[in-house]
Symmetry: C2
Subunit: 414 residues, 2 copies
């Protein structure tokens, strides 16, 4: 079954705003075995909307109309769908009453044009909207002799998504052939880009019945495996089999078999080892600490740390000897190690992290170019050091460095 | 003039990837006086692409085709545009030579199917692509008796945007009536949402000839004023006049009259006052430091700071007396003030910032709910304190708190 999603709203044709609901709806439709074949964005002009609907009904079996259900003159989706299908609109008394009741709870007099929201297309089912005043509509209808399912859902994301989940998905399930889905998400850190596909493609391309999606960004890859079968057991078995092979190939690049973030995994291992962590960051400017503290409950294992941007702070907060900085430079393996061990001692943490590098765009030399970052992880027994030169702008170097730092902590704890 | 943008690529019909080029292209087209009336996303199926092109040519004057220009079997845009327009394709010898030359510099033998990229639609102009192997194409043609401008641009963002700027914009300018544009971006921080529109709408709605766009997120609003006139002077004058009135209304909520970020403005004022800054953050976990250090050259005014997530670190790094924490709690006005003044003294900075609060989702009490954050800014003479309760999840509370913190530093320096 092929679907088209039409987002209605002139604001989504400006440089400033983008439809994001359609990604959510696509995910839900895919899980039901429906492919999204087209997405269209159209402004608040009735003629344009009617034309877009007719085009969609000519090329798709399922049409999701998003937005344009509000009370203003610009909200034209109801009228446009009715016109495109050659159906009438009726004002539904139960909806009129619901709108009045809603206005009463807000202690406001309902403006006359609000009543537009009670207009229902002939033969449509009203879909209640728990989060807003405009209900959705569901039509099991025909266009040029073919059966078409048409859904009208509101535009605001929380209304759209909740209504689609509670009202549209169950109705689609009734109509569509049954499907059992298994999904797994694997994640790996810092795998060289040139290696990932060479390593993984020969494995997952053997599993034609499992849809494998790979997303990569700044040192992180995410593989989503999705399989649909006639029984849950069959779907699970195929995904598990493929996941097992991919996990083996990814070896210790793999950090999550179930979709957790790298920060969550680091905190999980810290908890498991009853260990605590403190950080001393120069070029990442607090990004490592900020990422870790995004996770609720991180205070159980993360003590805090220092952003040692200036050289005197490297000494004041992590006890790096000024002579060491003078001799080797603030960006050096020695200083990274001293930061890691120093912050560990100062804070009493089990593990200390040190990061120092040149984020750019200036400050690089031939010997120490922009993008060079030194890392160290200290546990009081040993201090592991690492350095790497990242490509890209300041923002990318910092992102890569924070990913590398978290991954080094993970490996230390594994 | 009405334009349609068609993005070609099955990956943009998955839940994982979204077209973003179209926002950039819309901005450029708007500046030329062209309205984007439709956007369509279509997968790599020739029949679907041809259909989408015919629909677009039936409803728009300008068609931008994005993506599907590569060398693989899935790259079908050239063939589809030729078919939709009823034109032939020719293999262009100069392009064949360019592809061979490109392969030679990479020291690879060119695969045969790469030559697809040398196929040019009859009557099309080849648009050189400085960043990739697939050139763009430009057609000034006709469809069902109407003149149509059709552009083929590559999909990868840096290729698409550069080629559109250097090849398409100048050609569009030649064809379209001349327009002179003035643009200004104003930014304001922490203005209450209920106030912003009440304050600003009566002003900007008086300027029907200036297009005012307002974007708001977590304590930041951005107003973009755009005016097109027959002369540059006339456009500038209208934008300046409106900007002046809006700036007056925004008063000290306004932090930028020229689009700078709040971090840049804070660093600008620090430089101007020859002052330095250090931060002691608890609930924001390093986010304030991380935001400041995103700006190149921030090391001139930002010394660094501490992420004092655990109570002992509040004492160790900012000298907060343990008795004070015991008496008032780690989340209190007293501790915020002690963090600000303590980090200032420890680092020798001119200004110290202290932030402590409850980011959630747990840890709140009736007296101190989730979202409550205390701030202090100390300069050795006075310590300004502030507290506020933010709504939303952990991520939003942290974002709001970092915005508030930066804004308090800005106000201290003004």
């Amino acid at each position: 079954m092929k679907a088209e999603i039409i987002a209605v709203g002139s604001e989504m044709l400006t440089p400033h705003r983008q439809d994001t609901n359609s990604l959510y709806l696509t995910d839900k439709l895919n899980a039901l075995g429906v492919t999204v074949a087209f997405k269209t964005i159209v402004g608040d002009r009735r003629k344009d909307i009617v034309g877009a609907i007719r085009t969609a009904l000519g090329r798709a079996d399922i049409l999701v109309m998003m937005g344009g259900l509000g009370p203003t003159e610009d909200d034209l989706t109801r009228e446009a769908v009715a016109e495109a299908l050659g159906l009438g609109l009726r004002r539904e008394p139960a909806q009129v009453a619901a709108l009045h009741a809603r206005a009463a709870t807000w202690r406001i007099t309902m403006p006359e044009n609000n009543l537009k929201q009670a207009d229902v297309i002939e033969s449509a089912t009203v879909l209640p909207n728990a989060n807003g005043s405009a209900p959705g509509q569901w039509l099991d209808t025909a266009f040029e002799g073919y059966r078409k399912l048409v859904m009208l859902v509101p535009g605001p994301p929380h209304e759209c998504r909740a209504l689609f989940d509670t009202e549209c998905v169950p109705r689609l399930k009734e109509v569509l052939p049954p499907r059992f889905i298994a999904v797994r998400t694997l994640k790996a850190a810092m795998i060289p880009e040139s290696q990932a596909d060479k390593l993984l493609a020969p494995i997952y391309t053997e599993y034609k019945d499992v849809e494998t999606t790979i997303l990569a960004h700044t040192g992180d890859i995410q593989l989503t495996l999705l399989c649909a079968k006639a029984t849950q057991e069959a779907a699970d078995a195929r995904v598990e089999e493929l996941a097992g092979k991919l996990e083996e190939a990814l070896d210790d690049w793999l950090y999550s078999s179930d979709g957790e973030s790298l920060e969550q995994i680091v905190l999980y291992y810290l908890g498991l080892r009853q260990a605590t962590l403190a950080t001393a960051e120069s070029c990442t400017g607090g990004l490592v600490a900020e990422r870790i503290t995004r996770v609720p409950g991180s205070s159980r294992s993360f003590l805090g740390g220092a952003v040692v941007y200036s050289d005197p702070l490297k000494t004041a907060f992590a006890g790096v000897p000024p002579e060491m900085i003078a001799k080797h430079g603030a960006v050096s393996a020695e200083v990274a190690a001293a930061l890691a061990d120093g912050i560990r001692k100062r804070t009493g943490a089990t593990l200390g992290l040190g990061v120092t590098g040149i984020a750019g765009p200036t400050g690089g030399t031939e010997e120490k170019p922009v993008g060079l970052v030194y890392f160290a992880v200290a546990d009081g027994q040993t201090t592991d050091s690492y350095d790497r030169t990242f490509r890209g702008d300041r923002e990318r170097v910092r992102q890569w460095a924070s990913q590398q730092a978290l991954d080094l902590i993970r490996k230390k704890l594994m």
